[in-house]
């Protein structure tokens, strides 16, 4: 049976939320930029601002020169989170399985729901309509037999519009699209693949699809197979709800960008704590840690480490993280973003050693650290994230 995947996305979600709260903002060029920090970069722009030449990542000073009537709003993460959560009321109603892509953007697996809600394309229209009516937020939707096609279809649309790719027509749909339209090919780590495609003058996904896979493999290496499947509109990855996602990830944007090692190390430890807390709440443990940093000049570096045995305790993970941090952060350039992800997640089953050969002092230290982590979890659960913090952050 063909799968039925719906991608629903509200573009510039934070701006859309801000406009819902203050309708007077609806026609002006808007940008979301952290205020009161020097060297701030734009995080989101409204379509009006985009028309003036503004784009995400642009320096605010320069943006103001290009568009003197620009209205700047500071980010409001809690409001965005609330709005995102509220959308789930509609999303979860229609979709037995859904996966958040980013705030205001979801992938829904509607396979097998036809008898309940009708065809997927109708559900897409209903979701659009419901969200518009209930929250005054306008989104675009794409329907297809897999995540890639649904996402690509949605990306081609404007708010209120809907595109359905019928089963069997995936390749025809993907063929004229530029290779740059593929989600994931924009990441700095994929620059090499893009450069190779440029070298071979393979401009569209159709060009890729028509090329023999073995010839592609010669030029693109490991990426060739995946790219060839994508070019034909094939994507087997299932829609995964957050709780069974095989990895946990948190990204922190550093505003303003920073070069101070102790401060950055403090921030990464905070992220580790939050992720460990999530792990513990999900009763899971992680088997791999991966740190990605992005420098101010957009260069990204990723380092990974395996964790054996799997663990969910900061005391075990922080030395690994320190080593990753030191291996990643070697250049003399400020950091703009850090993303820490935990992979190889398994159910938590800590096996206590019968004869622990570690020194007694070390065992006691680990026990104390675990108790402290649990105590902090409780405090934060009761009084909020910011109730208690380490001085280093």
């Amino acid at each position: 049976m063909d799968r039925q995947i719906l991608c629903f996305a509200i573009p510039s979600f934070e701006i859309a939320v801000a406009r819902r709260h203050d309708p007077s903002l609806s026609t002006r060029p808007l940008a979301i930029v952290p205020l009161n920090t020097p060297r701030a970069l734009i995080r989101e722009v409204s379509p009006e601002a985009k028309q003036e030449g503004l784009h995400v990542g642009m320096n605010l000073e320069y943006a103001r020169r290009l568009c003197p009537s620009l209205l700047v709003l500071p980010p409001n993460p809690s409001r965005v989170q609330r709005a995102d959560q509220s959308l789930l009321g509609v999303i979860a109603y229609y979709a037995p399985v859904w996966e958040p892509v980013q705030p205001g953007s979801f992938l829904m697996d509607l396979t097998g729901t036809t008898r309940l809600f009708g065809p997927a394309v109708d559900v897409a229209a209903k979701v659009q309509q419901d969200i518009l009516t209930r929250y005054r937020l306008d989104g675009m939707a794409g329907v297809g037999t897999n995540k890639l096609v649904a996402q690509s279809a949605a990306a081609l649309m404007s708010p209120s519009e809907l595109y359905e790719v019928r089963p069997g027509s995936e390749q025809a749909f993907m063929s004229p699209l530029s290779v740059r339209a593929l989600p994931g090919l924009h990441r700095p780590c994929m620059r090499k693949v893009l450069a190779r495609l440029d070298d071979l003058n393979l401009q569209t996904l159709g060009d890729v699809a028509e090329s023999p896979p073995d010839a592609l493999e010669i030029a693109l290496g490991d990426y060739a197979g995946e790219l060839f499947r994508w070019a034909q509109g094939i994507d087997h990855v299932p829609v995964l709800p957050p709780a069974v996602q095989p990895s946990l990830e948190e990204t922190v944007t550093i505003e303003p960008d920073e070069i101070d090692n102790p401060m950055l190390w403090g921030r990464s430890l905070n992220v580790l704590q939050r992720l460990c807390r999530t792990l513990r709440s999900q009763r899971r443990a992680c088997g791999g840690l991966s740190l990605t940093i992005r420098y101010s000049d957009q260069m990204e570096v990723t380092k990974r480490a395996r964790i054996r045995p799997e663990t969910c305790w900061e005391v075990d993970l922080s030395p690994v993280l320190l080593s990753l941090f030191q291996r990643c952060f070697r250049r003399r350039v400020r950091l703009r973003q850090m993303a820490l992800s935990m992979t190889g997640l398994t159910a938590f089953a800590e096996q206590v050693a019968l004869f622990d050969d570690r020194p007694l002092e070390e065992q006691r230290r680990r026990e104390r650290a675990k108790h402290l982590a649990l105590a902090l979890d409780k405090l934060r659960a009761k009084f909020g994230e910011r109730a208690i913090r380490y001085g280093r952050s």
Partner: protein, 1012 residues
């Protein structure tokens, strides 16, 4: 009363990237603390020793020379107690830099004579103590390790001495010290390790503060005074140290020189006229008197190692140099003044500078070191300092800013900072804040700007002087510490001024690109046409085509006379000259004048010279000047004119006149100049000149400040200019190919190739079977060389060419890959550059790349597709990325659609619109920013369109508005008034804007992306 404490361990900004205070500031601060003696102990060197002696004495301090020797975990302060101790100090420091491995403890033990040693290094002290306790002290400095040092002093029974180890003057300067250390270590402030920088307590503590740290050891302070009193402070480096030629006696050396000179004279002149003989005798007499024979013989010996050289500077005024073949310009024919080079009253050593083709110079230097030995010869250093731009860049890096942002801000500051209105008398901090606020630069730029003001000018590292070599009869490392440069040659720790002041004689062996251009062009001509031109007997000066080319100012690519200012002046001079005068005028003589009169602050005189050359009558400032300035129409042109005028009008002696000339070219000259000015005014008044006339003449003398040229130098260079002009006139393809291949000219490669196209040449793209490493020219075509492909390794290119020449041309890509076996990335560059187009058959460039990947992979696929050829835009992107400029079209062709919408005239038609306001399109080729007398910046631009080059001027008011838009290699729409002066046309800009098109913006972004 003098203080009882003497600072025996201090660091100035000559401690590389560690010491904060300048020598001036350090000496003034020490003097202000009431001390009368100071030891300068920079880290591992005597980089500023000669300067220190002068500054300390001016500040009323007795100077002690020393250094802090640091190596691994060992450290000691070594103070020169006697001149012999100084020689030992130099030897230890030389060993520190040259020996590998360096045995710090034993080396110091071996050269202890005449040295006082202060240290807190227990291991070293124990060893040295076993030898002798004499002149050995334990150094106590306030800080955490002092207590341990006190214990060592007691245990080893060695006297303690107190020091401050001052690396900065005030505690607040600690941040500056840390920044310097972070720059030196390529790190950030938060990653800087404590052991890599000094302690916060290492500031110049006054005695009272220091004494508070030594309540239990008052003798530590008293010992510092006692050591200082034992040290030699009356240093004298006046004696000149000449090299020795084959260990000949002075008499034998002179006789050899004499014989060589006369033999050379017969070669140069045939029979010897009385004038020649008289001049030779006169010069030899001075050389004998001064004892310079060895020096001449050595230079002669070096010059004989290369077939093509050019003597530069004042040495070209000497007939002895001419006869020996050191220079190639006849001083008698060109009326060159020997006194400018040598005169009996001149005390400083002679200075002979020789140019060699730039790529032959390393072999010449290798020969010098092999022949004279590393012990006797060393290069003069360039003391690289943190220039303002470098200071900003380096500090910004410490603050972690990305390179792209730094580059942009630096350009912005370079163009705009002078325009920012700052509160008068503002502090550096306020200035930095105001500049950043006005230019919209956010944190941390104000801080970076502030610190760059504090740190600029700091000594950073030793580089090599472009060609200065010092030769001494005995060991050079007894006179000055020697290091090993990156290229493996020994280099002394002093730059040319300190070298000269220390009495060391330097010979300049410099690299010259144009000599290589001429060499390569001559070789190409012989290869292409079979015509061999003999460099020694070749006389291009009498060639009509070369003369005509110079008259037209078509000298782009011609050595020494290719700058826009010179070309414009040549046009002004010759275009408007009455025919009768033109027929008589000697182009070479005028070329010598024109190349000398182009200097800052002499524009007014250049125009006046042109008027007079055209026959305008003029009133001489004084009859005495008529005689001395006759050949330059009453205008002072050459350096020696300063000397002549000072002698004739100011009543100076020849020596004083020469000194005045020398002082004018120095940086810090105000004090000396004041005395000369008074002397000149008095002398001129005594000769009946009135103050306004004296003012005018003095102003003319002052126009020689900064850089200026002596006539022998320009006359010598004019010979090379003429050779270039001859080649350009007769063999344009070979000439342009050689100019571009040797690089380093005034213009970019793109500009030279454009000029080549205007000269009627066709520029062919690189080809795997036709291109050499360098550009090649023949007939009317120039083939781009493989050197133009960015990132292509020279080794690979040479391998490609050797294989092709040894066997046969490459037949296909596979044939090439089989025979050369290049790396994939390198072969990709060649394919994208179009090198395989001629042998690709039906394959497109992308298809070639695909096959390249296939060839490297053991799994051969069954079917290889042929993707479509790159579009024109894609090819342009590749050209921009690989060559740095579009090769298949003029960059302005990229704006065809836009240009159709903008009414404009062509550059070649400018002369038809004199007085009109016109719009022209231009690709910015070169720009030169200058300051007006009021200190306001303005700019001269050279632009080109598809039809020609033109010059434009942007005056301050307009410049202020548009300067942020200007950058070379960009297209502009220029609106301005066409002005004519002396039959030459320039454009005075009224408005300028960037010409942009969507495609080009996309291209540039694509190139940035590739580069990034």
């Amino acid at each position: 009363m003098a203080s009882s404490f003497v600072n025996l361990h201090t660091h100035s900004s000559y401690s590389p990237m560690s010491g904060v205070p300048t020598l001036d500031a350090l000496c003034q601060a020490v003097r202000a603390q009431g001390q009368d003696t100071l030891a300068l102990t920079d880290t591992n060197g005597l980089y500023g020793a000669i300067r220190f002696l002068e500054i300390a004495r001016d500040a009323g301090l007795k100077p002690i020379l020393g250094a802090e020797l640091v190596h691994g975990r060992h450290r000691a302060v070594l103070l020169a107690k006697t001149p012999a101790g100084y020689a030992n100090l130099c030897q230890v420091l030389s060993a520190r830099h040259c020996d590998d491995p360096f045995d710090c403890i034993n080396r110091v033990a071996r050269h202890r004579t005449g040295l006082v040693i202060l240290s807190d290094d227990v291991v070293a002290l124990t060893v040295w103590r076993e030898d002798s306790a004499e002149n050995l002290f334990v150094e106590l400095t306030p800080g955490p390790s002092m207590h341990e040092a006190v214990t060592v002093s007691r245990r080893l029974d060695l006297p303690p001495v107190a020091t401050t180890r001052a690396s900065f003057l005030h505690p607040a300067d600690y941040q500056a010290h840390r920044l310097l250390r972070a720059i030196a270590g390529n790190t950030t402030l938060s990653r800087l390790r404590a052991e890599d920088c000094g302690a916060p307590s290492h500031w110049l503590m006054p005695e009272a503060v220091l004494a508070r740290h030594f309540p239990h050891l008052p003798e530590a302070l008293i010992n510092s005074r006692q050591i200082a009193e034992q040290c030699h402070t009356d240093w004298n480096f006046k004696e000149t140290i000449f090299p020795s030629f084959r260990r000949l006696s002075a008499e034998a050396a002179f006789q050899t020189l004499r014989a060589k000179t006369y033999a050379g004279a017969r070669w140069r002149y045939g029979s010897l006229s009385a004038i020649v003989t008289q001049r030779i005798k006169k010069e030899l007499a001075v050389i004998l008197d001064k004892g310079y024979a060895h020096y001449f013989l050595i230079v002669d010996e070096i010059v004989r190692q290369a077939p093509r050289t050019c003597g530069r500077g004042s040495a070209a005024a000497s007939i002895v140099s001419y006869c020996l073949g050191i220079t190639h310009v006849d001083p008698i024919r060109h009326n060159l003044l020997f006194e400018r080079f040598l005169n009996p009253g001149r005390h400083d050593p002679p200075d002979i500078d020789i140019d060699f083709p730039w790529d032959e110079r390393p072999q010449i230097l290798d020969w010098v070191f092999a022949h004279y030995g590393h012990q006797h010869a060393a290069m003069v250093a360039n003391q690289n300092t943190l220039a303002p731009r470098a200071a900003l860049r380096e500090i910004a890096k410490v603050y972690g800013l990305p390179a792209g942002e730094i580059g942009k801000v630096l350009t912005l500051l370079h163009r705009r900072a002078d325009f920012v209105d700052v509160t008068p008398g503002a502090t550096a901090k306020t200035w930095a804040d105001q500049v950043c606020r006005t230019l919209g630069l956010r944190t941390p730029w104000p801080e970076i700007l502030f610190w760059s003001m504090q740190l600029q000018g700091h000594f950073r590292n030793l580089g090599l002087h472009p060609g200065g070599v010092v030769l001494v009869p005995d060991e050079i490392c007894r006179y000055v510490p020697v290091e090993i440069s990156a290229s493996g040659w020994p280099v002394i720790q002093w730059e040319k001024d300190q070298t000269e002041e220390a009495g060391l004689v330097k010979i300049d062996l410099l690299g010259n690109r144009s000599l290589a251009v001429i060499r390569d062009a001559l070789a190409a001509i012989e290869r292409n046409t079979g015509r061999a031109i003999d460099y020694a007997t070749w006389d291009p000066v009498s060639d009509p085509a070369a003369n005509e080319l110079i008259r037209r100012g078509d000298t782009m690519g011609c050595f020494y006379v290719e700058s826009p200012a010179t070309r414009l002046l040549l046009k002004k001079l010759w275009t408007g000259m009455p025919a009768a005068r033109k027929a008589q005028a000697d182009v070479c003589e005028y070329l010598v004048v024109v190349s000398s009169i182009i200097r800052p602050a002499a524009n007014v005189f250049a125009d006046e010279f042109v008027r007079r050359a055209h026959g305008r009558r003029y009133q001489s400032l004084h009859p005495l000047l008529d005689e001395v300035l006759a050949e330059t129409h009453g205008i002072m042109v050459y350096q020696e004119d300063v000397m002549k005028v000072a002698v004739a009008l100011g009543g100076f002696s020849v020596e004083d006149g020469d000194q005045l000339r020398k002082v004018l070219s120095k940086k810090h000259k105000e004090r000396q100049l004041r005395d000369y000015k008074r002397q000149f005014y008095d002398g001129a008044a005594a000769r009946g000149l009135r103050p306004p006339a004296i003012n005018r003449i003095w102003a003319m003398i002052m126009s020689f400040a900064g850089y200026s040229f002596c006539k022998p130098h320009s006359a010598s260079y004019a010979q090379v200019s003429f050779r270039s002009a001859y080649l350009r006139a007769h063999y344009p393809a070979e000439f342009i190919a050689a100019v571009v291949s040797n690089q380093g000219g005034y213009y970019s490669t793109f500009a030279y190739l454009s000029e080549g196209r205007r000269m009627g040449l066709t520029i062919l793209p690189p080809d795997i079977n036709a291109s050499g490493w360098a550009y090649t020219g023949s007939g009317t075509t120039v083939r781009v060389g493989l050197m133009q492909i960015k990132s292509l390794e020279e080794d690979l290119a040479k391998r490609i060419i050797t294989e092709r020449q040894a066997n046969e041309p490459y037949r296909s890509l596979y044939d090439f890959l089989n025979r050369v076996k290049p790396e994939t990335a390198q072969a990709t560059l060649l394919i994208k550059a179009g090198c395989f187009d001629s042998i690709a058959g039906e394959l497109t460039r992308p298809a070639l790349i695909w096959r390249l990947f296939a060839a490297q992979d053991p799994k051969r696929p069954g079917y290889m597709p042929i993707p479509p050829e790159y579009s024109f835009q894609q090819k342009l992107t590749h050209e921009l990325a690989l060559f740095g400029f579009p090769l298949s079209c003029h960059p302005l062709d990229l704006f065809k659609d836009e240009l159709e919408r903008i009414p404009h005239i062509a550059a070649k038609d400018l002369a038809q619109h004199v007085g009109d306001e016109v719009t022209v399109i231009g690709w910015l080729v070169t720009e030169k920013i200058i300051s007006t007398k009021q200190g306001e910046p303005m700019e001269f631009l050279t632009l080109e369109d598809q039809t020609g080059l033109y010059d434009a001027t942007i005056f301050p008011t307009i410049y202020r508005r548009y300067c942020h838009l200007l950058a070379t290699n960009q297209a502009y729409v220029v609106r301005g008034t066409v002005e004519q002066q002396f039959s030459t046309v320039t454009l005075t800009v009224k408005a300028i804007r960037l010409l942009t098109s969507r495609e080009v913006v996309a291209e540039c972004e694509a190139v940035d992306e590739l580069a990034g």
